[in-house]
Symmetry: C2
Subunit: 345 residues, 2 copies
Amino acid sequence: MTDPAPNRRRRTMTLRDVSEASGVSEMTVSRVLRGRADVSAETRARVLGAARRLGYVPNRIAGALASQRVNLVAVIVPSMSNMVFPEVLAGISEGLEGSGLQPVVGLTRYDPGHEEAVIYDMLSWRPSGIIIAGLEHSDATRAMLGAAECPVVEIMDSDGAPVDSLVGISHRRAGGAMAQAIVAAGYRRIGFVGTRMVHDHRAAKRLAGFEAGLAAHGLALEDRADYAGSSSLAKGRDLTEALVRRCPDLDFIYYTNDMVGAGGLLWCAAQGVAVPERMGLAGFNALEILGGLPRRLATMDSCRHEIGRRAAEIIRAGERGRLVELTPTLQPGDTIRRPAREETP
Amino acid sequence: MTDPAPNRRRRTMTLRDVSEASGVSEMTVSRVLRGRADVSAETRARVLGAARRLGYVPNRIAGALASQRVNLVAVIVPSMSNMVFPEVLAGISEGLEGSGLQPVVGLTRYDPGHEEAVIYDMLSWRPSGIIIAGLEHSDATRAMLGAAECPVVEIMDSDGAPVDSLVGISHRRAGGAMAQAIVAAGYRRIGFVGTRMVHDHRAAKRLAGFEAGLAAHGLALEDRADYAGSSSLAKGRDLTEALVRRCPDLDFIYYTNDMVGAGGLLWCAAQGVAVPERMGLAGFNALEILGGLPRRLATMDSCRHEIGRRAAEIIRAGERGRLVELTPTLQPGDTIRRPAREETP
DNA sequence: CTGAAAGCGCTAACAG
DNA sequence: CTGTTAGCGCTTTCAG
């Protein structure tokens, strides 16, 4: 019973093998394996037994080609080490639960060229939906998304026009709201810590909204410091120190995210800078991972999980042109002074 | 020139459309689009122009079926919010660079049932390689991996026998080395903070190695505290407090990872506990994101990036049965006393 | 360098 | 409830 031609390339197992092993036609085997109800219990058992015995795994490539259907949803995000995108993905998984759809992640590294390549690649697998972070894309990318036959949901950002559907928050307004809160609390000499990432449009919009919010009160940023690469506590600490050295009379620093903001908070604690009296601080994202710090950093929830979930729901419903704008909530934490004349509810 | 039957389902664009638009046979169009060199420059230009004009995106489902080749590498990890797996993935991407292979990530949530389902799903796409975290799998999973026709690399852990190839570190020895260092530094009353995650086999092996290392010196853990769910500074802080309350004479706490370890460090700082004199601390992973803390936590590098890179190289080389064991280095940081009789270099 | 023919493994659409 | 017949869109192979 040994293989008569051991060197011949072993043919990959097919439906036909299961069909022969079970004595049931290929078509019926296919029905059983796809879980269709219109097969007798006895036949089903025979087929399932044979498939299991053989260790058969269906070939979805062939299945997808024949049925013109693919159970994949392309999810395109800048990075996975950012701590925010894993949470978006968790929301997407939750929203896709029970639909049979599987998310497949592609990374752009905040680079439009990569984004284009990744989308081309994803589209070549003919996914059932596309969820992509941001509204800013190259012309070619926008053209591909527009030509895709599946629903497309652009997420995270609502400041702009989507190709199809959109689920996000207004970073512009988020920045503005933070500026408003800071000014109301009496801070006047305000600095900013951000990244040099040119293609992080959401961060740029947040800052633009923030500056507009300051300008509404006749204020402007005193100074800013920027870092390259990924965020960390160390970068927040170092840039805070640099900013304060350069501009000793700052009374507030707005950070592009909580990770660097937390670094700033640790620096202030180490230096004995009184927070929030002498210096106020705020970040963005409401990262729960940082909840154990001695003081809670003022921040704003970026609704990552819900954005993912809502986007997934649009895909599974096959909706087109849906617009969902979420509203982030300000969490003042311990690093913004209470406004002098605010009433206690 | 408008569509004569607007309601008819628009047929998906095929090679034939590009062929007709360019006046070149389908076969030659296919050659051009796959970047083969045996096509005249003029023909190539005509085809590329037509393809771009039409916005044609090749159908890889059909291509993969016909060529029996798929440029996908399945990467199966427990989670993506762990901060360690994104770095493994970065290593994999780096190792795959230029090979034309694309990683596709599947998540198991530390659950063998999910793992099985994810692998079945991945295999149904006939990937060119499988990279999977850990050596502990259900029988069905092991059977599927064994039957897969592509290279399989089990990563992260080297304490056990792989199905095919392996790239990892010995967590057992890592735990043992840490115990050795702690005892050498003079600590004697040692506690542990870990997770309740039953299926985190690497954490379990680290602890087993740690306890064995203590036992070699006639010591045992005084006490332990465990948390559920994902790691955070807050959990590290709270469990440290609980442990110290329960066992006030502890002089060292070993943490299952740096995130909770850092939480413990912050708690000690807030309480004025002298580190490393009164209390020593150590974690695991060497997370660089935490580098900005006031003091550097003692830890051990888990070689995440290199593990990913080496695994990718095995896949792209199509190697079988390769075993690669990496050696993590101890980083004493500021939270372990210098051993009394150690010489300064 | 280019083209024609024959599938890849599965499923839609019918027939029984 | 089960089987038969055509493809799905591309690539392999073999001729020109």
